[in-house]
């Protein structure tokens, strides 16, 4: 911990008695410090005299990491302490504003529960007894363990998992250089259905809406006012203020629903029928864009045939939305088109038919020809697109002969390797088939909470010889690990550069690390070298890595540190390409009927499949986000926790009355695999056949003092059910009973 000292402007004040006295003390300080045998370990002679020091507020640009949106921010630092975080007005993701989580980033840095040193387990796994280790000792141990696993069982016996972050590419570099194909990410737990639904239709999932010009938006399960995507949330509010009509499908009356022109408390899974009916009406009434469909789509006739029977009346009982209103939405959407779009969302209603629902949404947009039109769907050119960064010349990765444990591509032939099916990977570790896994390296991820059916994940952990966690907090997964490697927070470290379109942004330390922690880039390098993978980790340090990235961009690192970002001029040719109608599908057109899906035995066009409803007296268990929290990673943040210290379970007054449940009562929520206890929130803002809670509470790690034992974790009762096409977990398929915890 050091403090940035700056000279006070000269000429102010004379030599006061106090300053004279302090000057005297300072002059003898050196002698005092030297007089102690062994010196002082935590205090040293300052480089400047006290009367030369002044509090000086510095603003340092960097990139937020309180969620995955990566807003640009400016950290205000005084005396080496971060006193305020503000949105960077030049960053397209924040535009000068930060969400509640972004503002509370200070408390991620100054959370007293942070991991402060490498630790190695000394008791039984899960007992929570660790000892301090040096970085060398901990890394040697991990590397030795990984080498042993590789030699005895092959590299595939090592599982690696990570969530979405800037250093993820280097983590993947480590994984591929080591040679394991077994990679677990958050993707199948979140957006596989959307990514694949749009990719199978448009050839890309990198799709956004033109909020500035739109007149009509349909959201399905997307709650942008709680699941904040800063700039997009700002866009939505601006669009509403401008008069755009917003339709929200959600079994719950969300904050976004409260701003909507129409809110439909749709039956979970019935959303597919709703969108099929919208498509039916648009086709039947001839409201589609004939020119666009003819020129840029394929499979029209197959679609028409399949949708023939899908009238609003047909859909009504499936989605619980009146036929007349479905017709009205179709009419309004078509009238507003092409200045209208149905949002891709993240995972629709999160059921077994979510993939086909996403397909139906993609098709709805295609029928009205809103692609690249003002107010319609746009390729977002989001992160990773645009500027190409420099990289090191590396040898090819070793060939991986082993099949993946998550069933990709044998069981899930269309799921991209990059996405994977994380829950299947966990299940394969548990079964020990087709081959046993022996180690798991976890980078900034918390599978013990994020994967459904926590008991099963714990069981899988017991099969392993080595579990290593890299994180900033002592979360549940760290608690069950053998080695914990503490990472510096995003305000203390560099990360690989962030590219947004034609801009490149720098995450840089705004204060030095408070504890004995390291950046992910350094941890991967040190581990990679111990594994003998020198050619894959050629950078000397983080700055050297970033300088190599900047070789293709005309800005120096020093300049980038000051500005926080660099913007490259967009060439006209590139702008022209933007306007082209090119689709990376097998036929080069938008696929209303997908040949690829047909070839592997799936439905080429969306087809309705009735999903089981809850038995009498039971509920769909729904989960979603709140604005103050990011998954399971922010509950220990004291500023955020003050607002939502625990999660509750939403239940409709009718359902509550039958069970004698009053607002604030403790209730049991029980599924086939477990039971949790939560406080009831009795509200009309939810369908009577659904209950809802937010995810991320119910931490078992007592190292998280703020959030330990607060609320309960939905993963304890969520069954692991998987959409067969996209590999997405189908959380809303779990049904539960609810009853009072005490009479």
């Amino acid at each position: 911990m050091t403090t940035k000292l700056r000279k006070r402007s000269p000429g102010k004040g004379g030599m006061t008695r106090r300053r004279f006295m302090e000057g005297s003390a300072a002059s003898v300080a050196a002698g005092i410090l030297a007089s102690r045998l062994g010196g002082f370990e935590n205090l040293a002679l300052a480089k400047q005299r006290a009367d030369e020091v002044s509090s000086y507020l510095r603003e340092i640009p960097t990139v937020c990491e309180m969620c995955v949106w990566r807003c640009g921010l400016r950290a205000k630092v005084r005396d080496g302490v971060v006193v305020k975080l503000e949105g960077n007005p030049d960053h397209p993701h924040s535009r000068g504003k930060l969400c509640p989580k972004g503002n509370a980033g200070i408390m991620a840095l100054y959370d007293p529960d942070r991991l402060k040193t490498p630790m190695m387990r000394v008791g039984e796994r899960g007992e929570g007894t660790f000892r301090k280790a040096s970085w060398d000792e901990a890394l040697d141990y991990v590397a030795e363990g990984m080498k042993k696993i590789k030699e005895k069982y092959g590299p595939q016996a090592m599982v690696m998992s990570s969530t979405h972050n800037l250093a993820q590419l280097q983590f993947e570099n480590l994984m591929q250089a080591y040679g394991t194909p077994n990679y677990g990410t958050q993707r199948s737990l979140c957006f596989n259905a959307m990514v694949m639904g749009f990719t199978m239709t448009y050839g890309t999932s990198d799709v956004g809406g033109d909020y500035a010009n739109t007149r009509y938006i349909i959201y399905n399960g997307r709650n942008l006012l709680d699941g904040i995507a800063n700039s997009e949330t700002q866009d939505l509010i601006a669009a509403i203020q401008r008069g755009a009509r917003v339709v929200v499908l959600d079994p719950r009356f969300t904050k976004t629903a409260s701003k909507a022109y129409r809110w439909f408390p749709v039956r979970p899974g019935g959303d597919l029928a709703f969108f099929m009916a919208l498509n039916h009406v648009i086709l039947r009434e001839g409201w589609y864009d004939v020119d666009f469909v003819e020129k840029h789509t394929s499979g029209f006739d197959i679609l028409v045939e399949e949708l023939e029977k899908c009238t609003p009346r047909w859909a009504e009982e499936k989605c619980d939305i009146p036929a007349e209103q479905i017709f009205e939405v179709a009419r309004e959407f078509a009238e507003a088109a092409p200045r209208a779009f149905a949002h891709p969302n993240w995972r629709a209603s999160n059921t077994l038919n979510s993939f086909q629902t996403e397909r139906a949404i993609a098709i709805l947009n295609a029928l009205v020809g809103n692609w690249k039109q003002p107010g319609g769907l746009l390729p977002s050119g989001g992160e990773g697109g645009g500027l190409q960064l420099g990289c090191y010349a590396q040898p090819p990765y070793p060939r991986t002969a082993a099949m993946r444990l998550d069933g990709v591509p044998l069981k899930y032939p269309l799921v991209p390797l990059k996405l994977g099916v994380f829950q299947e990977l966990r299940d394969a570790v548990l079964r020990g088939k087709p081959y046993p896994a022996k180690g798991w390296l976890i980078f900034r991820q918390n599978p013990l909470m994020s994967l459904s059916d926590r008991a099963r994940t714990l069981e899988a952990f017991r099969k392993l010889d080595l579990i290593v966690t890299i994180d900033i907090l002592p979360n549940d997964t760290a608690y069950y690990s053998d080695v914990i490697l503490p990472e510096s927070t995003y305000l203390e470290r560099y990360d690989p550069l962030s590219v947004v379109g034609n801009k490149v942004f720098l995450r840089q330390p705004v204060v030095p690390p408070l504890y004995d922690t390291k950046s992910a880039l350094e941890i991967f390098k040190l581990l990679g070298e111990r594994l003998g993978l020198y050619d894959f980790f050629q950078y000397r340090d983080e700055e050297d890595y970033i300088k190599t990235q900047l070789k293709t961009v005309r800005i120096s690192l020093d300049r980038l540190k000051q500005n926080g970002y660099y913007e490259e001029a967009v060439h006209e040719a590139a702008a022209d390409r933007e306007a082209e109608m090119v689709f990376q599908t097998p036929g080069g057109k938008i696929e209303l009927a997908s040949k690829t899906l047909e070839q592997v035995g799936f439905d080429a066009v969306p087809k309705w499949r009735e999903l089981p409803r809850p038995d009498k007296g039971k509920f769909y268990l729904l989960t979603g986000k709140v604005a103050q929290m990011t998954q399971s990673s922010t509950q220990n943040n004291q500023w955020l926790s003050k607002h939502i210290p625990e999660n509750t379970i939403w239940i409709h007054p009718r359902a509550a009355a039958v069970r004698g449940i009053k607002d604030g009562d403790m209730v049991f929520v029980e599924s086939r695999i477990g039971r949790i206890q939560l406080k009831a929130k009795v509200t009309e803002g939810i369908r009577p056949d659904c209950v809802w809670t937010t995810f991320g509470y119910g931490h078992r790690s007592k190292g998280l003092r703020t959030t330990y034992a607060r609320g309960a974790l939905s993963s304890d009762i969520h069954q692991s059910l998987t959409d067969p096409v996209s590999g997405s977990q189908a959380l809303s398929q779990t049904t539960v009973s609810v009853y009072k915890a005490s009479v």
């Binding site: 403090t3 106090r18 935590n42 300052a46 959370d111 007293p112 000394v122 608690y479």
Partner: protein
């Protein structure tokens, strides 16, 4: 009455006790020399007095410190025990409550709060700065080090008969005790006494608690009218 030399020596011992344990400390605890040094210091401060500054049972407990490690043959094992306990108590732990060694936590529930900033300012006034990679400015050991610094300064002023420096240093000590040490050390020590599984830390926490109470009393007993003027000057600057 705690003499200057005794205070300095006791502070040195306390800094060693509450810093991350090293092999030397483990050896000294096991062979008994660490507790002997403390007991001797206590004895020297109360020499010629009918009443000892420290409770008798505390002195007895300090004397018995090596007993805890009687069964442990190797110094390295003693170090492992100390190290694990230090980690559990002061750094990171999972299954049980532990102790936060940062003053800011006791006032604001966080690290690097107002207390840390105030400490930084005090250190800066004395030409000091936290060491990079060392503990935070309001960490228990950093504050003990600053207290040691002030006590050494007091000794220097005293031996050189520099009255102005002596009085100013006493004011600084009083200020540091009032604004910082006394606001959280007692609670922190109580928590260590409650939660430590290793008697070494429990005993050292009790020793520290007694030490600061005595130190604080000592400063107030010897406060003169002139000191008040200097104090006012110092605090309002």
């Amino acid at each position: 009455m705690l003499y200057l030399t005794t205070r300095i020596e006791m502070l040195e011992l306390l800094i060693t006790a509450f810093s991350r344990p090293r092999e030397v400390l483990a050896r000294e605890i096991a062979e008994g020399s660490f507790s002997t040094r403390i007991v001797n210091r206590i004895a020297s401060c109360c020499e010629g007095s009918s009443r000892c500054c420290f409770p008798k049972d505390l002195i007895e407990t300090i004397r018995k410190l090596p007993d805890e490690f009687k069964e442990v043959q190797e110094d390295r094992k003693v170090l492992t025990i100390l190290d694990a306990e230090y980690l559990r108590l002061f750094v990171n732990d999972f299954p049980s409550a532990w102790v936060q060694p940062y003053e800011s936590w006791y006032h604001e529930g966080r690290t690097m709060g107002k207390a840390a900033l105030e400490c930084l300012e005090l250190y800066q006034r004395d030409g000091l700065a936290p060491v990079e990679g060392g503990e935070l400015p309001d960490h228990l050991v950093t504050q003990l080090e600053y207290l040691l610094f002030l006590t050494l300064l007091e000794k220097k002023a005293s031996s050189e008969e520099d009255v102005a420096l002596y009085r100013m240093t006493r004011v600084k000590e009083q200020h540091f005790y009032e604004r910082h040490i006394m606001t959280w050390f007692p609670t922190c020590c109580a928590r260590v006494q409650t939660y430590s599984r290793v008697s070494f830390y429990r005993v050292m926490a009790r020793f520290l608690r007694n030490f600061i109470v005595l130190g604080n009393r000592n400063l107030h007993l010897h406060r003169s009218g002139f000191d008040e003027g200097v104090a006012h000057d110092y605090k309002t600057a």
